[in-house]
């Protein structure tokens, strides 16, 4: 009988027999997570490009590269999850328009194109410069990437800036749409009580911003240390404010969602409470614990306005905590939703596999990918605005 207990999720109460195989695994946990990081990073770059908030200038182009590198990997978990991965393009070729998921290919492709265009305009001046200063094969690559547009006169740069702003303006609803859409994929499923909430899209969107800004803080602090420069104080203050504001909104929304569910107390609410106390107890503790910890730290930093190393270190801690908190939130939503049986009379417990196609190893590899890509991208196109590492030795146009 070992086979029964090997591959199915153990359960208590009454669950439908087919439910014992949890359909969406940890790969579907990191899919919205990676997509969320994209949205968050993109928002920061937009604050500079669209709203002209100069304090974000030093991280704006880095944020853009981060968004692009993570976006490349956003569809990967889905690909690894599919039972028939060779048919992955089927929804693009023969889309079924009533399906929320069928739109993913279009939404994601549009967004990758938009991000690529925006990166190109933001880095065009650098590309022209690099195509003239580098040698050998690199010169050829940079020259090809300029697409023959080597005019870097102030007039041309002003046009670049304008186009980049328009693209970013399209990008904001794009990023919001992309992530609101991911929330819709879950929130629109009436069969799962834990998902079926109208608040799901805004919660996904705002937690995306929290995690994305957190990621940017972490990466910015690490890269500054690595480059031996002091993180730009104004930028860090700006990131602190964005983080604080979005964290407050997401906590309120998440609290309201939970409160509504408990207050409405529809059939099976006891099982929902058991779910929170049981299978996702650890996840909920991490999510809420780290969120409140970061909120307290951020709030006190809003009041005390610390400076220097102390400020940077605490921002790093907050950024990392919020990345972990949002990852836990994705787990609680995606896995938690499936651990609550559709019968509302039983609970499953999902244990991820360590090795295999759908396993923690795959998750680890897929999540390492964007960081490696980003490292290579920053080597190829240094996004830094500070004088020391900028290829021109002067500030770029943006």
């Amino acid at each position: 009988m070992e086979r029964v207990f090997e591959h199915v999720a153990p359960y208590i109460g009454h669950v439908y027999p087919n439910e014992t195989e949890v359909p969406w695994t940890e790969l579907i946990v990191i899919y919205p997570y990676i997509t969320g990081l994209v949205a968050g990073a993109f928002v920061v770059s937009s604050l500079h490009h669209v709203f002209g908030l100069e304090q974000f200038k030093s991280v704006s182009r880095f944020a853009l590269l981060t968004a692009l590198c993570f976006m490349f990997f956003a569809p990967m978990p889905l690909l690894f999850h599919l039972g028939q991965p060779t048919r992955a393009f089927e929804p693009l070729i023969t889309p079924h328009f009533t399906s929320a998921m069928a739109m993913f290919g279009y939404v994601a492709s549009f967004y990758v194109c938009l991000l690529s265009l925006e990166v190109w305009f933001a880095f065009r001046e650098d590309l022209v410069h690099l195509s003239k200063t580098s040698k050998g094969f690199a010169k050829k690559v940079y020259t090809a990437l300029t697409l023959g547009s080597d005019d870097v006169s102030p007039k041309a740069l002003a046009l670049d800036h304008k186009i980049a702003r328009i693209l970013a303006m399209i990008g904001i609803p794009g990023a919001m749409g992309l992530h609101g859409y991911v929330g819709f994929v879950f929130g629109s499923l009436k069969t799962r009580e834990w998902w079926s909430s109208d608040l799901m899209p805004p919660i996904f969107l705002l937690s995306a911003i929290v995690s994305g800004v957190g990621l940017l803080v972490v990466l910015y602090v690490i890269t500054c240390k690595y480059r031996k420069v002091i993180p730009d104080h104004e930028a860090m203050v700006g990131l602190k404010q964005v983080l604080w504001a979005s964290l407050i909104i997401v906590l309120v929304f998440e609290g309201l969602e939970l409160l509504e569910m408990v207050y409405k107390a529809r059939e099976g609410i006891e099982t929902v409470m058991e779910l929170i106390k049981g299978p996702i107890w650890a996840g909920m503790s991490i999510q809420w614990g780290l969120s409140f910890f970061s909120l307290i730290v951020l709030s006190s930093m809003m009041i005390k306005n610390p400076q220097g190393k102390k400020f940077v270190n605490w921002m790093f801690v907050c950024g990392l905590s919020l990345m972990v908190a949002v990852l836990a939130m994705r787990w609680n939503v995606v896995i938690g939703g499936q651990e609550l049986s559709k019968t509302m009379k039983g609970l499953l417990t999902y244990y991820p596999q360590l090795l295999g196609r759908e396993s923690l190893l795959t998750v680890l590899l897929l999540f390492t990918g964007p960081f490696v890509t980003l490292y290579l991208a920053t080597q190829f196109l240094p996004p830094w605005e500070d004088a020391k590492s900028h290829p021109h030795g002067k500030a770029a146009a943006h």
Partner: protein
């Protein structure tokens, strides 16, 4: 060799150290033979190759490919002329689970206790309790009791308890009028046929399992070997030839009723006419086509 002999043989060989898969295969031969006996006109024994590593009744890959690439033509069947529907008389079901075994045999359902196109739930009200205790044949205790993942029996766990009320409820695909599985399918692989049955074109399914999530009744699952979704189709290959679904065919008590709503004298038309029927989870808005007579409040 009689069925009894086959089963006895399998038991003996198991002790001599035969592989588990081989053991299941031989057990399966017994199931196939049983199903073939009880279900007249059944194709249950298709794929009965001793050399096959799979269960004897399981369709092998070559047969599956053939069925996909060269689907059988159904002469004289016009899907616009029928409106299939299904009924369950809860009070008649005795929980013998012949239907589950017949379904596995007939439809090459995956050979374990956790993938089903149909199953039966046991509801037991213990003395003084207002809530039923529910279990299914996939419950590890039941599986352990039988010692097989393809033979199904409910164990006798309530023999020392005082039971106020108990009954069995067969479950299967509701072939909804507004199927949420069809709504969410990104490729359009699953669709609602005009005769009322929700079908899957496995050439288009890419195994995302969104439909598995979207089904309120938990009747869908993923066939890991094929990488595509699976569900009950009321034995479409049989009903289009004028036969009953395998589960209806083998049901010894007439608990399962099937027929064409376009025919006023069909068993299902009479079943709906003569009983107060209900559907499960009507609040989902799926408009199920599976009608229950005598379903308890706990059934969902």
């Amino acid at each position: 060799m009689t069925i009894q002999e086959q089963i006895e043989n399998t038991a003996d060989t198991d002790e001599t150290g035969i592989s588990r898969r081989g053991f299941l295969g031989l057990l399966g031969a017994g199931v196939a033979a049983t199903a073939a006996v009880v279900s007249a006109n059944s194709d249950a024994s298709v794929g009965h190759h001793k050399s096959d590593k799979k269960l004897a009744f399981q369709q092998n890959e070559a047969q599956y490919e053939e069925a996909l690439n060269n689907p059988p033509k159904i002469p004289n069947y016009n899907w616009n002329e029928h409106k299939w529907s299904y009924g369950v008389d809860v009070s008649r079901c005795i929980g013998c689970l012949r239907c589950m075994e017949a379904c596995k045999a007939e439809n090459s359902v995956q050979e374990d206790a956790n993938h089903h196109r149909t199953w039966v739930e046991r509801y037991v009200y213990l003395e003084g309790s207002a809530e039923a205790v529910i279990d299914t044949p996939a419950d590890p205790k039941n599986v352990e009791n039988v010692g097989s993942e393809v033979h199904f029996r409910f164990d006798n766990r309530y023999k020392d308890e005082k039971v106020d009320k108990a009954f069995f409820v067969p479950k299967l695909c509701n072939q909804c009028e507004e199927p949420s599985c069809v709504q969410v399918c990104p490729t359009g692989a699953t669709f609602k046929a005009p005769d009322g049955v929700v079908l899957i074109d496995t050439n288009y399914c890419f195994g995302c399992q969104y439909c598995v999530q979207a089904c309120p009744y938990g009747v869908r699952s993923l066939n890991e070997e094929r990488g595509t979704a699976e569900k009950c189709n009321w034995c479409y290959h049989r009903i289009t030839k004028g036969l009953n679904p395998a589960c209806v065919e083998v049901c010894p008590t007439g608990s399962r009723v099937f027929g064409d709503l376009n025919d006023k004298n069909s068993p299902i038309s009479l079943f709906i006419k003569n009983n107060q029927v209900t559907v499960l989870k009507s609040e989902m808005g799926n408009k199920p086509n599976l009608y229950y007579a005598g379903a308890d409040k706990e059934v969902s």
